[in-house]
Subunit: 198 residues, 2 copies
C-alpha cells in the first residue's frame, strides 16, 4: 500500500506486542517526520540492547555482565531465593525494598496451551543452585493466575523432598482496594489467610 | 529503575506516539526475549527509512526518488491538483481509485495553537506550481476538522484571484452510518449540500 520501505517499517512495527496496524502506521508516519538523529538513537539502542544485555548465569535475571548486580552483591542474603517468572517481576519486587535475598528467574510459567512445560523454564538450574548454595528458604512469587499457580504447585512438589522451607506470597485483598469489588477467589483467600489482629 | 541500556530502550520507545510507559516496558521486554535477527531487522528498517525516504520535490509526497511515483506518472492528469495535509491522506485517496490527478502535500494544517501558520506549510510551493503548470482545478481535501477547515478557507482566499476552479470535498453523511447518530454539523452540511435525487 505504501512506498516500499515505509510499508516494511509499518510491518516491522506491527509485529511488536500491543501495536496494531493503525498504531504501526501512526508510529511510522511520526518517524518519517522525525529528526533523523532521534530515529538513529532508537535504532542504535535496539542494536545495543541485543548486544549488551545478557542473562545472569546464576539467576537468569537481565544483566550486562555474566552475573547480575544482585547476584554479585555480597550484602544480599545467600540463604533466600525468590523465584519469579520474568525480569519485570524482579524489578517490581526490588521496588518494594522488602526482600534482601536473591532471585531465580524462570523465564515464564508452565502453560500447556502455549507449549511451555517445566523443561522450557529454568527449573533444572534452580535445582542445581539449591544443591550448590546454602539456601534455606525458597519463596515462590509466580503470578497469581492459572499459569503462575500451576508453576508454583509444580515447584512445591519438586522442592518438597529437599527439606527446605518453601513459601508463597500471601494472597488477599489489595491495599487501597474496596472489599465489595474483590472477586470471590481473592476474598476467599483473604479469609483463609486471615491473621491475628494486632 | 532497569539496567542501563534496558531503561534507555524503554525511554526511547516511550517517546513514540501512542506508546505509554507501560507499553514501552512491554515492548522492551518482548525485544529482550526476541530473536536478535528480528530486532536487527527493525533497527535496519528504521535507519533505511530515514536514508531512503525523501519528499517529492514537486508535491512533497513521500518518495524514494526526487519525484514521487504519482508525479512521474504521465497518465495522471496534469490539470487537477488535490491538496492534502499528509502523506497518509494521499494513500487514503489513492485507495478509492476515484482521483486521477496529482497531489500537493501541505505537511500539516494551519493551527495557531501548535504554532503552525501558512508559512510552515508547503503553500508557497503550491502557488509556484500553479504558476508553472497547466492546472485548471484545485481540490481542497484537508481534514474536516477545525485546522483543516481553517487551512481550506485560507487557501480558498489565496487561490481566488488566480482564476482557477477551487473545489472542496463534499461534506455529508458517511455511507453506512445512521442518520440519528450524525452530529448536527454533519447533518446540517448534508442538508446544505443536498442534490437532486436520481
Amino acid at each position: 500500500m505504501y512506498e516500499g520501505v515505509v510499508q516494511d517499517l509499518i510491518d516491522e512495527l506491527g509485529r511488536l506486542p500491543g501495536v496494531g496496524p493503525k498504531s504501526a502506521q501512526r508510529i511510522a508516519f511520526h518517524l518519517l517526520q522525525a529528526d533523523p538523529v532521534d530515529v538513529k538513537r532508537l535504532a542504535d539502542v535496539l542494536i545495543e540492547v541485543k548486544e549488551k544485555v545478557k542473562f545472569c548465569s546464576i539467576c537468569f535475571n537481565v544483566s550486562e555482565d555474566d552475573q547480575c548486580r544482585i547476584c554479585r552483591d555480597p550484602r544480599r542474603e545467600q540463604s533466600l531465593i525468590c523465584v519469579v517468572e520474568e525480569y519485570k517481576d524482579v524489578v517490581a519486587i526490588e521496588r518494594t525494598r522488602e526482600f534482601r535475598g536473591r532471585y531465580h528467574v524462570l523465564g515464564g510459567a508452565i502453560s500447556p496451551i502455549d507449549g511451555i512445560g517445566p523443561e522450557q523454564l529454568h527449573i533444572r538450574e534452580l535445582l542445581m543452585r539449591l544443591g550448590d548454595e546454602a539456601v534455606t528458604e525458597v519463596i515462590l512469587a509466580t503470578d497469581p493466575n492459572l499459569e503462575g499457580e500451576a508453576t508454583a504447585t509444580y515447584l512445591t512438589r519438586m522442592l518438597g523432598p529437599l527439606g527446605l522451607r518453601v513459601t508463597r506470597l500471601a494472597s488477599g485483598l489489595p491495599v487501597g482496594g474496596d472489599l465489595e469489588y474483590a472477586d470471590e477467589v481473592t476474598l476467599g483467600r483473604a479469609f483463609a489467610g486471615r491473621q491475628a489482629a494486632t
